[in-house]
Structures are given as C-alpha cells and as structure tokens.
C-alpha cells in the first residue's frame, strides 16, 4: 500500500495530519497498537520538523507485509551537522515552534528510539530526507 501526503511550510495547524491518517490505516490493518504508536510518534516528529525547520515537503508511506517504510523529504535549509542534530537537546527551533510544544531537541532522538531503521540525509541549501522503517 502506497500513500503520499504534502506538508506545507509553517502549517502548524496541520502538522500531524499525515501521521493521523497513517494511524487509521494501520489500525484497520490490525497492526499491534504498540507498533502503531512507535510508527506515528516517529512520523509526527518528522512531519513537525519539515514544517518547523524546512519549507514543507512530501511524506510517502509504503506498507508491505510486516514492514512500514516512511520517507519525509523536504525542501529546506538542510542540516549542516547531522550527528549534532541527532543529539538530545540540540535545537535551533524558533519561538513559534516552541509555542507549539516542540523545539526541545528531542524530535530526532524520539524518531531514533521508535523505529527499527533511521537514515537522515541532507544537503545544505537543498533539503533533508528522513527515511524510517518499522517491522511488525
């Protein structure tokens, strides 16, 4: 099963819309609720990042027997130092991101903890791609 969602720059109101839709799909497929939670928490943090730190992007989700693969690809400033960005507590979030309840530098670490495979690639001035896989 293949799904695509568009994420719009600065559209905090709809941050999480893709994750919410994926949650419904996985529930319908009777995926274990703990796995569903891991998937949607990770995807939600990635979605928030595409809105908060980049200029929006695209979420693609592929669900096969026993595996879900999510790719959040944005057009944005990119991440100059991915290892640093992965550290808990590191954040360059603007005040409006903090006002939404994010921006404590926990997003990428939260993704890492919840998925079986995380791969972040980024080019400064071009954008960032976050690939995540969860087996179930």
């Amino acid at each position: 099963m293949h799904q695509e969602y568009t994420v719009i720059e600065g559209d905090f109101v709809n941050a999480g819309a893709a994750s919410s839709s994926v949650k419904k799909t996985l529930k319908q497929l009777n995926v274990n609720p703990q796995v569903v939670k891991r998937v949607v928490v990770a995807l939600y943090e990635a979605e928030v990042n595409a809105i908060a730190h980049a200029y929006g992007g695209k979420v693609t989700v592929d669900i096969d027997a026993g595996k879900i693969r999510m790719v959040v690809a944005d057009k944005g400033p990119g991440i100059p130092d991915i290892a640093l960005a992965m550290q808990e507590g590191y954040s360059t979030a603007r005040p409006e991101v903090r006002d939404m309840g994010f921006g404590a530098g926990m997003g990428l670490p939260n993704m890492q903890k919840n998925v079986d495979r995380l791969n972040v690639t980024s080019e400064v001035g071009v954008g960032t791609t976050v690939e995540m896989e969860v087996n179930f």
Binding site: S19, K23, P33, Y44, G101, A104
Partner: protein
C-alpha cells in the same frame, strides 16, 4: 479516581467528553512539552498548559484520551472537534500547574516515574 471526581476537585469545566466522566484513571503526567509526552509508554491523563491543536494531535499519536488544561486555558472549537473525533475528554481549570498537580497527587493519582 474517576474523571468526574477530578472535575470536582479542580473546580473545572468539561469542554468535551461528558459521556466518559465515569472512567477511572490511575496516573497523570504534566508537561507543556509535547516531545516529552511523545516519549511516554503509558497512557496517563495529561495535565498541560499548552492549549493548541498540537496538544490534541500529540494525544492522538501517544494514545492519550484525557487532558486537563491548567491556567485557565480554554480549547478552541477546532481542538474540541478533533478531540471529539478521537473520543477524548477535555477538562479546563483555572488553577496553576503546580496546584493542579498537588491536588491530584494528594488525591491519589500516581506519577509515571
């Protein structure tokens, strides 16, 4: 304790979810930081002063059904609509986070850690 008892204890108003007020709850977690809420393995009631649509989305992702808003924050119509879709209960009180937590702790709600 039941959500109804919590409403009484906090002199709170119920914004949505009247039908679930007899649900028993055991534990609570208080935070204004949604990334923190997203780390929880359990499903406590959430006590928060963050009152925007992301509070409701976060609860959806984290499978939390019950929220107490503190500091006289009132959920918007959009928030209530999304909460209703997810069968949530939203309660609002005028007390500070500290007072709310103190009262609920004293009344027997457990912390997660």
């Amino acid at each position: 304790m039941t959500l109804r008892e919590i409403v009484g204890l906090l002199d709170a108003t119920v914004c949505t979810g009247e039908a679930h007020l007899d649900t028993e709850v055991q534990s609570a977690f208080a935070s204004d930081l949604m990334s923190d809420v997203l780390t929880l393995k359990d499903t406590p009631i959430l006590i928060t002063g963050l009152c925007n649509i992301q509070t409701i989305r976060t609860c959806d992702m984290a499978c939390l059904q019950f929220v107490v808003f503190v500091r006289n924050k009132k959920p918007s119509a959009d928030m209530i609509e999304l909460a209703e879709e997810n069968d949530m209960v939203l309660i609002a009180c005028e007390y500070s986070m500290f007072k709310t937590c103190g009262l609920l702790f004293e009344a027997g709600l457990y912390p997660l850690f």
